[in-house]
């Protein structure tokens, strides 16, 4: 267990190194957030929706932008190692490969998104009502949303490991990876808030693993999921974590048996 924890800590520290990249990334994300908010504002004001407040949409956009790095960031090192044959060293380590990389990717996603989320949420909080992020529905809602983010993180890391598992045996991973990322961006609510999808679709989409990553926490935060619905929502997250981790473990175990070490 200690080995996995130190893999986690190493990766965490590494993510802290690139502070310059963080500033650039945050400014970019703020820009995209402003553009999206402007579009949704104009749409909403032209045709106000019943049962949905403008501030809920803008809050959704800002939370998605703030935790962008949690959804869409990957660990290219393993892919490089497979291509160059460096994977042989990884197999010599007295740790379980899946757990090792799961710890690394979780640290990267957690630290990367915390570093970015703090300044972005501060900025969004300073924007006027109807542009920025509004306060959580209640204090318990905030705490539940925080729990949801942590469960979502475990879920997104498990999904990332499955993507890696799919691509492990092909040397050119860009195609598969791009497809997986797109599914994630669309069904996690990054391209368009899931709350704006047609209501009939939402019932199915919110059950998919992608919705567990961030959508659930945002809905808990804005109060779209009432406190009484929270246990069920968190339970769905937990179920998906178990499913995705077991699937990933099986996939990696099978891959490892057939893995070809490239080059010399």
């Amino acid at each position: 267990m200690k080995a996995y924890f130190s893999a986690f800590r190493m990766r965490w520290k590494m993510e802290l190194q690139y502070r310059g990249a963080v500033i650039g990334g945050v400014l970019c994300q703020i820009f995209f957030g402003l553009v999206l908010v402007a579009v949704y504002r104009a749409l909403y004001l032209g045709n106000p929706q019943t049962g949905m407040r403008l501030s809920n949409i803008t809050t959704y956009v800002w939370l998605q932008q703030a935790f962008f790095r949690m959804l869409l960031s990957s660990d290219p090192e393993l892919m490089d190692k497979i291509r160059t044959g460096g994977i042989a060293y990884e197999l010599c380590r007295p740790v379980q490969l899946y757990g090792f990389y799961y710890a690394r990717i979780t640290a990267q996603k957690l630290m990367g998104s915390l570093l970015r989320a703090a300044p972005m949420l501060l900025f969004a909080a300073l924007l006027p009502e109807g542009w920025g992020i509004s306060l959580p529905a209640s204090l318990p809602a905030l705490l539940l949303a925080a729990c949801g983010v942590m469960l979502g993180l475990l879920c997104v890391s498990a999904m990332e490991c499955i993507s890696m598992g799919f691509t492990m045996r092909t040397l050119d991973f860009r195609g598969v990876y791009a497809l997986m990322n797109l599914l994630m961006a669309t069904f996690a609510g990054n391209i368009l808030p899931l709350t704006l999808f047609p209501d009939s679709w939402q019932r199915a989409i919110t059950l998919l693993p992608y919705a567990q990553m961030l959508d659930t926490s945002i809905r808990l935060y804005t109060g779209a999921y009432a406190l009484s619905q929270a246990p069920a929502a968190l339970l769905i997250q937990a179920v998906w974590i178990v499913l995705l981790v077991s699937l990933g473990l099986a996939l990696w175990a099978r891959n490892q048996k057939k893995l070809i070490v490239q080059g010399g």
Binding site: G25, A38, G46, A178, L179, L192
Partner: protein, 266 residues
């Protein structure tokens, strides 16, 4: 003439290279299709929920989306050298070899790469354009077709120019600057929707600094018969020229930067 032959030959070579790995090529093209399809799906779902955006109907929105998408990805397809490879050429010192050859640097950079996978995005954009013009019941005339072609050509040149900015920064500081993406990719995302939905600072940004509104949206609005800001019809033919102006200005800056180019060595 010689340069054109040179260009066509390198394009043929590039295409051959890309098709060497057909499975990977097909998968990546499919990924592009899903990507742009996802963006389009977002517009469709928005229309489904909100019906219209200010005075713009569903058809208008698809048309705006389509014109931006086709123009942007045509540029990325044929200008891949500028939009993708150039910064890494500077960082690795590969640019030095180009300086030795008896052709302009920019010509060679454009010949450096082609990205045929973008054909999938262009197809989605074209579908959006056709759908939009059908739904908005556009009466096509010779002048409108001309406006569309001019808009796309000028828009493409503008986008190429904006990507040069990243090149200029790379020459100056070797590191590439992420923030430049706000103008290029940000401009694409923002100007998929009509410019008049944005607050003034964003409008100024995409009208004066990166004139997507002038090159693409003014002609698009003319074609749809709802002139942008109520401008007269001839504006749709004059304002796109701003794309050429921006490109020329940035090209001069690029030339200036190239004079101060210092190789990273090795």
């Amino acid at each position: 003439m010689d340069t054109v032959k040179f260009y066509l030959r390198s394009m043929k070579m590039q295409l051959k290279c890309q098709l060497q790995y057909p499975a990977s090529f097909l998968l990546q093209t499919l990924a592009q299709l899903v990507m742009e399809g996802g963006e389009m799906l977002a517009v469709i779902l928005i229309v489904d929920r909100f019906d219209h955006l200010n005075q713009w109907t569903a058809g208008d929105l698809y048309f705006f989306f389509g014109i931006m998408s086709v123009t942007f990805y045509l540029t990325e397809c044929f200008g891949r050298g500028v939009t993708g490879s150039f910064p890494s050429m500077v960082r690795s010192g590969q640019l030095d070899t180009l300086l030795l050859r008896p052709r302009g640097v920019l010509t060679q950079v454009i010949c450096w790469a082609i990205d045929p996978r973008r054909i999938a995005c262009i197809a989605v954009g074209t579908a959006a354009l056709v759908m939009g013009s059908r739904m908005a019941a556009v009466q096509w005339t010779f002048l409108k077709a001309l406006a569309l072609i001019e808009a796309m050509a000028m828009g493409g040149i503008l986008i190429l120019g904006l990507f040069l900015i990243e090149g200029i920064f790379t020459i100056r500081s070797v590191k590439s600057v992420e923030l430049v993406n706000a103008l290029t990719y940000g401009g694409r995302s923002a100007c998929e929707y009509p410019i008049d939905v944005y607050p003034r600072p964003l409008r100024v940004l995409f009208t004066v600094i990166a004139p997507f509104a002038l090159t693409l949206q003014c002609p698009a609005a003319y074609i749809l018969g709802k002139p942008l800001y109520g401008w007269p019809d001839w504006a749709a033919f004059v304002t796109p020229l701003s794309g050429l102006v921006s490109f020329s200005a940035l090209y001069l800056l690029f030339q200036h930067a190239m004079r101060h180019y210092r190789s990273t060595g090795s």
